[in-house]
Amino acid sequence: MIAPVRALQRPQGGLAGLWLALVIAAALLAPILSPYAFDAQDLPNAYRPASAAHWLGTDEFGRDLLTRLVWGARTSLSVAATAIAISVFCGMVLGAAAAWFGGWLDRAVTVVVDLTWSFPEILIALILVAIIGPGTLGTMIAISVAYLAQFTRLTRAQILTLKGETFIEAARSLGASNGHILFRHLLPNALAPVLVSAMLATGDAIILEATLGFFGLGAQPPVPSWGGMMSAGSALVFKAPWIIIYPGLAVAITVVAINLYGDALIAALDIRQKLRRSP
């Protein structure tokens, strides 16, 4: 059976998978599921705690928090996932090229990657958003650059290990071209660890997106995002704490779920050793 399914059969993996499925479904079906419009203001009913009409209460404009949470999932997840996808793609290309061609290319990539890797992602992202300008696109690019080092590093390490293995030597001696070996043999074999670590990084990216949102640099109002909701809620934390509590919990539980499912996936794929190089 395929690994993602086997991961679901582990108790933690199953529970985590269930939550992730729920969040992803909510994000996809937000327009259908949400009981209100995300920007429907209802000032007389502002600052209401949880009730039958508003399951999670309302914010400072009387907007339904559950609705905004569901729409926020749409923004936060898509930004994080897209950013990581871009990062993985570029990282794999860079890492594979560095490992495969070696020489000055490898050295240059290694130096840059090691340097950025030791910098906190949040700083890199903050500076980049400052350059590109706040908003969804800026956040996305900033996050993908912030995680580029991680995937480049991991891919490079994978390819370097694989390069010395017998089946690669065999393919080479049979006259396979560089491209053939790289795309048919090396990258597919390096894929599993990179994808799993991409999944774990998506969790971190959700937190990063939320943090940028908190600084007011993420998705701009009225589009709800988890970070944006918390940014607005932070000023009101003593008056209406639920405004910030729910999106924070959504982030925390989702990231926990991603980690648990990721761990189950690592166990199912049996690739713990391969991931060792990038703690």
Partner: protein, 308 residues
């Protein structure tokens, strides 16, 4: 050993130059002109040109870089455009706060993280292990600004134990340190646990048992010593990461420090200050890697042998 150390420090010079180029050039891509913030609306182009000359912004970029770098080397970080004060003063005010916060957070994550990791490893796969690792995971997945606000809500507002914000007295340090520390604790606990478990499976550990040493002594005196080597290395490499955490947390708790200064000057497009903040953080990161290498050599004779 000494010659290695000198070589290792010298290796930091080109890295520092590379970082400084990146920091310098990146900031000139930031849209928004600091001069705009200084000029009254409707000022004449001549006033603007004068202002640019005054801050050296009219020269070509490489020249600006050269001037900036030579001044940095002399300890002159320029003048803050918005605050109109020497940047060195601003940094000197902010740095001690950040160092104190970062230092305590590092201490907290190391002590608590290693402790929890050891307990988890000794009780591997039992409920206590699961509870610790579960708690640690939960702590590390909460956005730090959110955690900070919730801690503030509970301990400062509801219970009134600690001040809500500011940087007066040790009480004001508790919640920020806790907020940053919890993330670091998760990292340290996870590495400690895994390396303890891996070290326990090493051949020499079997022989220690065969020598009749007590299991606790084997775990604490031998296995933990080995497990600490990767913990220390990774912690030192991630000093920047902990300072990064400080950026957010300083803003949340309205504490003075590099983070608050950085965020403020970023929004004001105050280049010289942003550059100086980033330089400080970069230097902390580089010193961290250096410290990591030194500690690794101190802890592992094999590493020393390879360096000699």
């Amino acid at each position: 050993m000494l010659s290695w150390l000198i070589r290792r420090v010298l290796m930091l010079v080109p890295v520092f130059l590379a970082v400084s180029v990146v920091i310098f050039s990146i900031l000139h891509f930031i849209p928004g002109d600091p001069i705009d913030n200084l000029l009254k609306p409707g000022s004449s182009p001549t006033a603007r040109a004068e202002m640019e000359v005054r801050y050296g912004l009219d020269r070509p970029l490489p020249v600006q870089y050269g001037i900036w770098l030579s001044k940095v080397a002399q300890g002159d970080l320029g003048t803050a455009i918005v605050a109109r004060r020497p940047v060195v003063d601003l940094i000197a005010q902010a740095l001690p706060h950040s160092l104190r916060l970062g230092g305590f957070a590092l201490l907290f994550s190391t002590v608590v993280g290693v402790g929890l990791g050891v307990i988890a490893a000794l009780n591997r796969d039992r409920w206590i292990d699961r509870a610790i690792m579960g708690g640690v995971l939960a702590g590390s997945t909460m956005p730090s600004f959110w955690l900070g606000l919730i801690l503030m809500l509970v301990f400062s507002v509801q219970l009134g134990w600690f001040p809500v914000s500011g940087a007066r007295g040790w009480q004001s340090l508790v919640l920020p340190v806790l907020t940053i520390g919890l993330g670091g604790t998760a990292l340290v606990a996870r590495i400690t646990r895994v390396s303890m478990i891996e070290a326990s499976a090493r051949d020499f550990v079997m022989l220690l048992h065969a020598k009749g040493l007590s299991p606790l002594r084997i775990q604490l005196r031998h296995v933990l010593r080995h497990a600490l080597i990767p913990v220390v290395t990774i912690l030192a490499l991630r000093i920047g990461w902990i300072l990064g955490g400080a950026v957010t947390v300083e803003v949340v708790f309205a504490r003075p420090g590099l983070g608050t200064l950085l965020i403020k000057s970023l929004s004001q497009h105050d280049y010289p200050v942003v550059q100086a903040c980033l330089l400080m953080l970069a230097m902390a990161v580089m010193l961290g890697t250096l410290l990591g290498d030194i500690l690794q050599a101190a802890m592992d004779p094999r590493v020393r042998a390879a360096l000699a």
